[in-house]
């Protein structure tokens, strides 16, 4: 029998009553590289966070080299020689490279031995071919250099198992090549590796084994050599349930242009963006993390500035954008992160829903709020969106499910009767059933003449609901697919290829 490094037995984990992963089991052979793939929200990060001690399981157990392994904190995982290279970089930009590497355990106990720390850091940096001083502050480093520091940092504890969660999202292609060389080097030293990525060509290139997750369950697994890219995509998307997840399209895109963007640029963020949004259209905007998709919508809504370019709203050139002006222009913006940017979590349902449209319900001169009229509208919209709540006045938004929270954010904007609607990741962290309802809402909204820009990292979702899809990559719009031309495999392949070719 082969040497098993990590064994995962029937693991399940739920957040607030919703299962994120259910009954996951697999074995990880020592010295192998395991690829973990799946769509956003499939449960990959949750799974590795459990291995890394950040989350604890509800059910099931893990065995590390045959011994029961139940980490309670990230520290426990470190002590068992499990290292984690996180998706978002987990470095302290205000501290030096050496500090970042040794922050948890400095050489020398209660008084830091600086010379030893510097020497060890230099050696480790040499190991990844990084020729900079150990006392350089992280904030002075490029994203690629930071990624290397992150890897060096995880080597400090001499790990047996190293988890890479989307390590290449912030890397240029040359840096990615360098990372792969390092990972191969680690493998040759007998380290076991779990590698999560969206970029299937990379997965194909670097991993030995593969586990495919969908909606928290394993849909496929085996030797990577037996997988074609097509088989990976099919297992990730679950071909058979396509079609039923999305309502039939009822909206018709008009000739009339409601939003026109010309040569829009902001250095370092977006570059030379051109597109038109038509009346009654649902336009998709797809991009991987860090492609600039969210940043573009923030610029268009007037939250962030832009340096060059023109924006026309309903044919009128707008010079200075601000959220206030956008709301007056009847633009709605459902942000990516509803807890931080979309909701007053400690407020009640009525407060949240009426936030944007409050001025519309106040009298002309004295600005008193007509509460009856307002209440009527709130109740009407709650009914229309089928928001399930106890009381509009007493129920706090914090206590609602993700789906109902998202509906409240949408309701908030609908109260202002938007003609243009930006919606960033409409279904993040929402169950399948509610997703369908949300798609229906967007459909009806477009049918009634509103124009919708949907930003998403779930390609399937965009294929399911959009008339056109723009693909964003590295701050630019790189291609466009018209309705009926697209097929999710085609777009996915295009987007992935694009990224890996760069």
């Amino acid at each position: 029998m082969a040497n098993i490094a990590l064994e995962i037995n029937d693991i399940s984990k739920s957040f607030f009553g919703v299962y994120v992963i259910t009954d996951i089991s697999f074995k990880l052979e020592k010295g192998n590289i395991l690829g973990l793939i799946g769509e956003n929200g499939a449960g990959k990060s949750t799974l590795v966070n459990i291995v890394g001690g950040i989350h604890q399981v509800d059910k099931g157990n893990m065995k590390l080299f045959g011994k029961l392994y139940a980490p309670k904190t990230p520290r426990d995982a470190l002590e068992k020689h499990i290292s984690f290279v996180h998706q978002e970089l987990n470095l302290f930009p205000n501290l030096s490279i050496a500090d970042n590497i040794f922050i948890e355990k400095y050489p020398g106990g209660s008084v830091i031995k600086h010379s030893e720390m510097k020497k060890r850091t230099s050696e480790m940096l040499k190991w990844v071919d990084l020729d900079i001083s150990p006392s350089t502050l992280i904030e002075k480093l490029s994203p690629g250099q930071r990624q290397l520091v992150e890897i060096v940092k995880c080597m400090r504890i001499n790990p047996d198992i190293i988890i890479f969660d989307e390590p290449t999202t912030s890397l240029a292609s040359k840096e990615t090549e360098r990372l792969f060389k390092l990972i191969k080097k680690l493998k040759s030293e007998g380290k076991t590796i779990i590698y999560i990525s969206h970029i299937l060509t990379d997965i194909k290139k670097i991993t030995d084994d593969l586990v495919v997750l969908m909606d928290g369950k394993i849909t496929d697994s085996g030797k990577t050599d037996d997988f074609s890219i097509n088989r990976m995509i099919k297992s990730m998307l679950g071909r058979d349930i396509m079609g039923r997840k999305y309502p039939d399209k009822i909206n018709k895109s008009d000739e009339e242009v409601v939003l026109k963007v010309e040569n829009l640029s902001e250095p370092g963020i977006i570059r030379n963006i051109n597109f038109e949004l038509h009346k009654g259209e649902i336009l998709g905007l797809f991009g991987l993390m860090g492609s600039g998709r969210t940043e573009l919508t923030r610029v268009l809504f007037g939250i962030d500035p832009y340096k060059e370019g023109n924006i026309y709203i309903h044919g009128k050139k707008e010079n200075k954008l601000s959220p206030e002006k956008s709301i007056k222009n009847k633009i709605g913006f459902v942000t990516e992160n509803r807890n931080e940017e979309g909701l007053l979590l400690e407020g009640n349902v009525a407060e949240n829903i009426s936030l944007v449209s409050l001025p519309n319900y106040s009298s002309k001169i004295l600005k008193f709020i007509n509460t009856n009229k307002q209440k009527e509208s709130i109740n009407e919209i709650i009914e229309r969106l089928k928001i399930k709540i106890g009381s509009t006045e007493k129920q706090l938004v914090r206590s609602l499910s993700g789906g109902n929270q998202q509906k409240i954010v949408i309701a908030k904007w609908l109260m202002n009767k938007p003609s243009i609607f930006f919606i960033d990741e409409p279904t993040r962290g929402i169950d399948v059933g509610v997703k369908y309802e949300l798609y229906c809402i967007l459909n009806k909204l477009a049918d009634s003449g509103a124009s919708i820009l949907v930003v998403s990292s779930e390609i399937e979702e965009l294929v399911g609901i959009c008339d056109r899809i723009l693909i964003m990559s590295k701050g630019e719009i790189s291609s466009e697919f018209k309705n009926r031309e697209f097929d999710n495999e085609m777009i996915l392949t295009a987007a992935f290829k694009q990224k890996s070719m760069l």
Binding site: I54, T73, P74, R75, L78, F84, H86, N90, L91, F92, P93, N94, L95, D99, I103, E104, K105, Y106, S110, V111, I112, H114, E139, S142, P143, S170, A172, P267, G268, I269, R271, G290, G292, E295, K474, G475
Partner: protein, 329 residues
């Protein structure tokens, strides 16, 4: 490109520039300001605020705040003074009790902030009011005095340098050592930058934050009793009043960020404390009205905080550009 570089150099060294500017202005306006004797006087006066501010630096780097230091000054001097008066306690033990009182209030702050997850501003506001209240209760709001033979110990000089300056130097050295040479000192910077990331890195974040509040309490007690001795050992109900404002101001003037992760005792906070005292003394030399002095001090501090917020947003903007696409040449 050059412009940006100079701007960065300026932004990173505001305390030094500010200190020099104020010093120059007063030296030009009042020639007497430059004498050695006067500079020593200023430094002696710096000691009290400086020691408090050094402790405050630890707390502010964690991203917290401690409003209770002024009340700690009062309570931690009062208790040993009462014990000496009523039960003839020996001096060394009295001094140890003084520091213990400071540590205890720091520990109370830490308990509510770290364990009960309460907001530092509110917790320390409560201990600020509470410990001053306790002190007034203990002495029936009467003036208490240390015996003169004890307070005389503190007005001596070593090689012509007044003792308070030596105390200040020792405290700054200890704090500097902790921040630069010990794991916990470095970890304070880590949790101040991002406590979630710190937790993921395996740092015992609770222990580190608690350490910062306790050391702040101890230094407040130390600075407090030193200033009481300087004033001839008299402790009245206004002891330590407003000290929290001066201490926080010194830390911020020294370049620390109130959002945490950035700051240093040396040269930062020390310079901050010097700036405050230069202002105080300089304005007195100019014969400015007492109340006017407060207004000017407040304006200068406001200016420093404003520059800090400019700096933060500027650095944020730089960082934002760093994580995205590379510009084509």
């Amino acid at each position: 490109m050059h412009k940006r570089k100079y701007l960065m150099i300026f932004l990173e060294n505001i305390p030094i520039f500010l200190c020099l500017a104020i010093f120059l202005i007063f030296s030009i306006l009042t020639p007497k300001f430059l004498s050695i004797g006067n500079l020593l006087d200023i430094l002696t006066a710096v000691a009290y605020v400086g020691i408090l501010a050094v402790g405050m630096t630890f707390v502010i780097i964690t991203g917290g705040i401690d409003l209770s230091v002024g009340s700690v000054v009062y309570l931690s001097s009062l208790i040993p003074a009462l014990l000496i008066r009523d039960s003839a306690l020996s001096v060394p033990i009295a001094l140890i009790i003084c520091l213990l009182v400071g540590a205890a209030i720091g520990a109370i702050n830490a308990f509510f902030i770290v364990k009960m997850k309460m907001i530092p501003f509110l917790v320390t506001l409560c201990t600020m009011v509470g410990s001053r209240g306790l002190a007034i209760f203990l002495c029936n709001s009467q003036v208490v005095k240390f015996p003169r033979e004890i307070t005389n110990l503190s007005i001596g000089k070593i090689m012509g340098i007044p003792l308070p300056i030596i105390f200040l130097a020792v405290v700054v050295a200890i704090a500097f050592f902790i921040q630069e040479k010990t794991p916990i000192g470095r970890q304070i910077y880590a949790i101040g930058n991002n406590i979630e990331v710190a937790r993921k890195a395996g740092i015992n974040t609770e222990r580190v934050a608690a350490f910062a509040y306790i050391i702040c309490g101890i230094f407040a007690a130390l600075g407090g009793i030193m200033s009481v001795f300087q004033m001839g050992g008299v402790i009245n109900a206004s002891a330590g009043e407003g000290a929290e404002f001066q201490a926080i101001a010194a830390v911020v003037l020294g370049g620390a960020s109130l959002s945490g992760g950035i700051g240093s005792v040396f040269p930062g906070t020390l310079l901050g404390a010097i700036i405050i005292k230069l202002l105080n003394v300089g304005l007195i030399y100019l014969g400015t009205d007492m109340y006017f002095q407060n207004i000017i001090s407040a304006l200068i501090i406001l200016l420093a905080v404003f520059i800090d917020s400019l700096k933060t947003s500027y650095i944020y903007k730089l960082g934002r550009k760093n994580i995205r696409i590379e510009e084509q040449k």
